[in-house]
Symmetry: none
Subunit: 374 residues, 2 copies
DNA sequence: ACCCTAATTGAATCATCAT
DNA sequence: TATGATGATTCAATTAGGG
């Protein structure tokens, strides 16, 4: 199922979808065409000031020294590395695409500032609260019980990015999804182990986290890029949710583990993957269509829900209230003394049973008719 | 009780304790001696970049932060401002002192990176989760339900900073305090209002938040500095908790309001200066969590208790019945022809033993898991 | 005094399409 | 690219007011 490739085999002209590219992230990204990716999910290394030392953008090793100048130099090197991979991701991101980056306080502030400097526009920071974080053993700090994700568009004025607001709300007891998410860390059967029972990757992310990220910000069939693929959680969840993926990973051991893992994933069926659409994506229906189809007769009197206002429907699809005519929206706004109004939900008609119902219900009737007719 | 001073009256030699200094933060800090402050709590301007107005769905106007003090020409200008006040704070901070800075995604990444650049050493980032955040009115993003605080020492190898680990743990059901805190925003009687009933300051912080900050990272008698004093929450809480304070504030109106507020504060007796337990989080479980955690698989068919109705679970956390999708509650209501329905108790799944059980049982499983995180 | 409903409000980077 | 029309969109808490 998932192909493994080295950068040399790939070019923007060749198919890279559902592939793990082995190699350095910036170099490997050259194999991807401009503006081809819908969502980037990145879990970059933050081996900052730690025993492992720091890598330059060219992956050469920086000697860890505790001098003042070196500390500065180290942050600079990390920033340069961050700039390089973020710029490469930005090139391959569609104008309507979004990027997620996850990190901890060691690196997330530098990543966030760099994102802003490069022109990305932050939509949210989202906190992953861990149900079962590692305790603080020394008792010298608060238990580090969360990580931070930044969600951003490519550009400040980006329009048309995917956010499945309605579906998230419907799955969240009908209240909108907040910026703090609670999930367990990755343990148990989900955690990849090698033949000696040791964990394959030190920071394997839980699939539940990626599932919410991808359900929120992508559509079935979208292309998801993970430039630090690691154990392949992004690929596994993308495949299960009917999204395409490209993963980039330097270490052969991770590549192999991820490929095997993804191969075992069974994608969900089309029906289960349908995302609940919001009204925004529904076809537009003009008020005149209700008249033309006989659902509303000229001369009908419409009211607001509490019958404080009234208006009469004219044959041309306008409403008249207090002697002035206008669209359902304009008239609704005018009678209330407001700037704007959604006439579809404001104006009500009386049903045969005597109930007062919004004309939006009639629009729904029309939409169902339209759907049947194709 | 609290003295108000202009910088000209002050010098490092004169006593500045329990004083509000009116003036620019960097200039006013020159009045303070080197290494004299135990804790800095800073709530700098967030550099919100609001383009236009915002209306609620009912067309009422959202009173946004449009204060002059929050306007910066560019990220560069904001960074220069941040460097300047952080450097000034660093000079007056004791080698054993710590600094807190609060912000949102608009500014906190730049603040955090600057802290690191200047040599501060981050101990934790702490998330303030709001019980009652403002909604996202247009449904284009996640509800912005938290702010971030960074807690840092003056230097990388700082020793001897105050962290009342045992006291915090004792007040937290004997488990160590996590990095995610839950508090309501500042409203009601605590919120300072002017004679017209309008809020005095657009971003007044809750006293509970400051109380936990100061109880965690300071001792009675310590000196707490707030370089952006605003309505004086830091001073009020410091006085109540038996800490000394210095506040710096540019605007006379804020200075006056803060002075009056602090004057009315009654300090607690020594015996009462114990940690207050945090409010436990309200256990809300989204249906999507059952999917994300694998307790329910997409495609599962749910029934009511008597199997008169059926619905299919989709990956986005919605149910489909008779071709229409919606939340567990909405769908349960629709199939019964009712206005409302508790989907958790209405919809049932078949257990491995063949028993029909409400999905509420699965929610209980998740709740037990989540309870660990508060 | 009490209950129920309505109104108000909070650090917010909050639309899209046709012309 | 700018303008105007259409029409999509809110949660928790407190406070005020009516009965």
């Amino acid at each position: 199922m998932s192909r493994i490739a080295s950068p040399a085999e790939l070019s923007p002209e060749r198919e890279t979808v559902d592939t793990i590219i082995r190699g350095d992230c910036v170099a490997a990204l050259e194999a991807l065409p401009d503006r081809s990716v819908d969502v980037v999910f990145a879990d970059p290394p933050y081996n900052l000031q730690l025993s492992g030392g720091l890598q330059r953008p060219d992956q050469s090793h920086v000697d860890a020294v505790d001098d003042e100048w070196d500390r500065f130099a180290s942050f600079e090197a990390y920033d340069a590395f961050t700039r390089a991979w973020l710029l490469a991701c930005r090139r391959v991101l569609k104008p309507t695409g979004t990027i997620w980056v996850i990190g901890s306080y060691h690196n997330i502030f530098r990543v966030g500032a760099t994102l802003q400097d490069l022109g990305f526009w932050i939509l949210n920071d989202v906190v992953w609260r861990k149900t079962n974080p590692m305790p603080n053993f020394r008792g010298r700090r608060f238990q580090n019980a969360h990580e931070t994700m930044i969600w951003a568009t490519r550009d400040r004025d980006a329009r048309g990015y995917t956010f499945n607001y309605e579906a998230l709300k419907a799955g969240n007891d009908d209240v909108q999804m907040r910026s703090d998410w609670l999930f367990p860390i990755c343990t148990g059967g989900e955690r990849l182990k090698d033949e000696n029972g040791r964990k394959v990757h030190s920071t394997q992310k839980p699939e539940a986290l990626l599932a919410r990220v991808l359900m929120a910000s992508s559509k079935p069939g979208d292309l998801v890029l993970d430039p630090f693929f690691g154990s392949g959680t992004t690929g596994a969840v993308a495949k299960r949710l009917g999204r395409h993926y490209v993963g980039i990973e330097r270490e052969q051991a991770y590549v192999d583990a991820a490929a095997a893992r993804i191969a075992a994933v069974e994608p969900l069926g089309k029906a289960e993957l349908q995302v609940m659409p919001g009204k925004r994506s529904a076809p537009r229906v003009a008020f005149t269509v209700l008249l033309e189809s006989g659902l509303v007769a000229p001369g009908t009197v419409l009211h607001d829900a509490r019958e404080r206002y009234a208006a009469v429907v004219r044959a041309d699809g306008t409403l008249v209230a207090n002697g002035e005519a206008g669209s359902i929206h304009k008239t609704g706004a005018r009678v209330q003394g407001l700037d704007a109004c959604n006439g579809w939900t404001f104006w009500h008609f009386r049903t045969p049973e005597g109930r007062l119902a919004p004309i939006d219900e009639l629009r729904e009737v029309v939409r169902r008719e339209m759907a049947k007719a194709g």
